[in-house]
């Protein structure tokens, strides 16, 4: 038997609520809507009493109903006579009423109108700029302390981070660089073969891989791999108040957490870029030798002839700049992270997007710069 509700009016100002049957959360039972209606239409009611003699079983289902009745009574200034309720229910309702509700509702309330929403977003973006500059300043100061030898961080942390961003990244860097070398060589060779100039595959691949593609691809891989990891690590530390713990104990979290991470990536990126170049050139050689009948020695000769130290330097400089930007973006987003799992996810996403944006801007600027300098 599910719950039943019967409203009686024994006196002119008295509403008698008869509750019967089983009032369980999972059963269907009447809502307090009827009572709300009665109180609305009969303004002379001053007292609500209860009868629960036929109540068989109850749990939060009944309590929810009663809480609603109490709330209605409070709104209409009506007395409640809880005498007819089960003892336990009465005591539980008293517990629920013991602490008055916190009056600050609507704090996450109404949604902003569209224009205002756009305005808010724009302002937030505007406010983000000084925050980024502030962080840049802090990192610069931290590097200053590093060179003066007063930066506080654990050398063993640095080694662990280097291991993680360097050697552990080799498989994925190899895979992608090999693929890029393969594609550049093949696409180029098909065109060059029309003029019988297949041998220039070597020039195309070695130049492309060392000057541009090696750095760019490594940058994008590291943005997804390491930038995201930095943001997630620092973000989680932010959630657990670990960063606050560093601050209160007098450690500078920038020195302790950001500096080794930036340093690690800046040290490792040039090596990864060189490595990517070598793998790419090897892939090109593979294509040239197996598909376009160029001998290994010829390819080698042509590569050496086409290479110049400047190409290598340009690639390494670009890669180092990308590395710095990736580490900066990852650490920035991690340190700005909010205090929820959701915020960590947002920080990670934002770190990758920001890194790639930075890489694109830096790549354009550097290309123009080197062009102007005639390098």
């Amino acid at each position: 038997m599910s719950g039943q509700l019967n409203l009686q009016f024994p006196g002119p100002d008295n509403l008698h609520v008869v509750i019967a049957g089983s009032w369980l959360l999972t059963d269907s039972h009447p809502s307090a809507g009827d009572i709300a209606q009665q109180l609305q239409s009969r303004s002379d009611i001053r007292r609500i009493s209860f009868d629960s003699t036929d109540l068989t079983q109850w749990d939060s289902g009944l309590l929810t109903f009663l809480a609603r009745v109490y709330q209605l009574a409070g709104k209409h200034n009506i007395d409640i006579d809880p005498g007819g309720l089960p003892d336990g229910a009465r005591r539980m309702i008293n517990l629920a009423m013991a602490v008055p509700p916190h009056e600050d509702t609507g704090k996450h309330g109404e949604k902003l109108p569209l224009i205002e929403h756009i305005g808010e977003k724009a302002l937030a973006m505007w406010r983000a700029a000084p925050e980024m500059l502030h962080f840049l300043g802090e990192v610069t100061l931290s590097f200053g302390r590093l060179f003066r030898g007063t930066a506080q961080f654990r050398r063993s942390d640095l080694m662990l981070i280097i291991e993680d961003v360097g050697p552990h990244a080799l498989p994925i860097v190899s895979l992608i660089s090999f693929l890029i070398g393969l594609i550049v060589a093949y696409m180029g060779a098909v065109q060059l073969a029309q003029f019988g100039a297949q041998i220039y595959i070597a020039n195309l691949v070695s130049l492309g891989m060392t000057r541009e593609m090696g750095a760019l691809m490594t940058g994008i891989i590291m943005a997804g791999r390491t930038g995201a990891a930095y943001a997630a690590q620092l973000g989680t530390m932010q959630v657990n108040e670990e960063i606050d713990a560093f601050r209160t104990m007098g450690f500078n979290p920038i020195d302790f957490l950001v500096l080794p991470r930036m340093l690690a990536l800046v040290l490792v990126m040039p090596l990864l870029v060189l490595y990517a170049g070598i793998v790419g050139i090897t892939a090109g050689m593979f294509v040239a030798v197996t598909i376009f009948d160029i001998s290994t020695f010829e390819y080698y000769q042509q590569t050496v002839r086409s290479m110049a130290w400047t190409h290598i330097w340009v690639g390494v400089i670009k890669g180092t700049v990308y590395g710095m930007l990736i580490a900066f973006a990852g650490c920035l987003r991690g340190m700005q992270c909010g205090r929820s799992a959701q915020a960590v996810g947002e920080a990670t996403t934002s770190a990758v997007v920001t890194s790639i944006l930075f890489i694109v801007i830096a790549a354009s600027l550097l290309t123009i710069l080197f062009q102007q300098l005639g390098i």
Binding site: D59, P100, T105, G106, S340, A341, Q342
Partner: protein, 254 residues
């Protein structure tokens, strides 16, 4: 697997050994939680109370031994049966473990929405009631990161009692609460037991609430890595033969 047990025995631990890998935390635990007990798990910090709780709520399989719920051995049951048993549990963890990307109301509403047929409007009312029961009326729209540690603890309790579970597992529910909130929490726990017949298994160091509401207990020892006492905590305080247990229950003043 149904065992022949007393219908009053709600949870039975049989020769339970808890371990992380080869590292044995506690061995040979035997105790019985009767229906409607407020069962206290006591012991020094790091002795394995939270670990015991994790084994009882089905998060971790014991190294050996069994946990029976109403005569059914949890770890020897089928996944469907385990799911059914777990539906009767409500748990609050030592660290709160609220879902940080949901508001308090959404935290409490999630199990209600998943496991009942209640309409959204009804769920809102149940959620308000549960939050009011732990003294958090009006905090529905706050995120866990926007309330204090003690409030997070209480919100986690509201989530644990959302479905009126048969068994409630609390890990240090009153740690971080002021004496008044802590007292109110004791009242709530007693009321859940008296009115709804809930069985309560609770880890706590709060001597005041141990004596006020506990009627059965187990005492885990760090040195010997097993239980050294069980029964009504008030009796243990006055009559236990183990000096360690008496010292613990008398705040070392013995």
């Amino acid at each position: 697997m149904l065992q022949n047990t007393n219908p009053d025995d709600h949870i039975v631990a049989q020769d339970l050994t808890l371990a992380y890998g080869d590292f044995i935390i506690q061995h040979d635990l035997n105790f019985t939680v009767r229906r409607g007990d407020i069962f206290i798990v006591m012991g020094g910090s790091g002795c394995g109370k939270s670990t015991l709780l994790r084994h009882m709520i089905g998060l971790k399989a014991p190294a050996s031994g069994r946990v029976l719920f109403a005569g059914v051995s949890y770890w020897e049951s089928s996944p469907a049966e385990q799911q059914r048993i777990k539906r009767g549990f409500g748990t609050s963890f030592q660290s709160g473990a609220l879902w940080s990307s949901l508001t308090l109301a959404e935290n409490v509403a999630l199990p209600l929405g998943e496991y009942t047929d209640l309409a959204p409007a009804d769920i809102t009312e149940v959620v308000s009631l549960k939050l009011a029961l732990v003294g958090l009326a009006g905090f529905e729209d706050f995120y866990p990161s926007e309330i204090s540690g003690g409030m997070q603890k209480r919100a986690a309790l509201a989530r644990a009692i959302a479905l009126d579970p048969e068994i409630l597992f609390f890990d240090e529910p009153s740690a971080g609460l002021d004496p008044i909130s802590s007292r109110r929490l004791d009242d709530l726990i007693l009321e859940l037991r008296d009115s709804l017949g809930t069985t309560i298994v609770m880890v706590t160091h709060e001597l005041a609430s141990i004596f006020a509401i506990g009627n059965n207990s187990v005492f885990l020892d760090t040195e010997t890595r097993t239980m050294i006492a069980s029964g009504d905590p008030k009796m243990l305080r006055d009559e236990s033969t183990d000096p360690g247990v008496r010292r613990f229950l008398n705040r070392g003043e013995i």
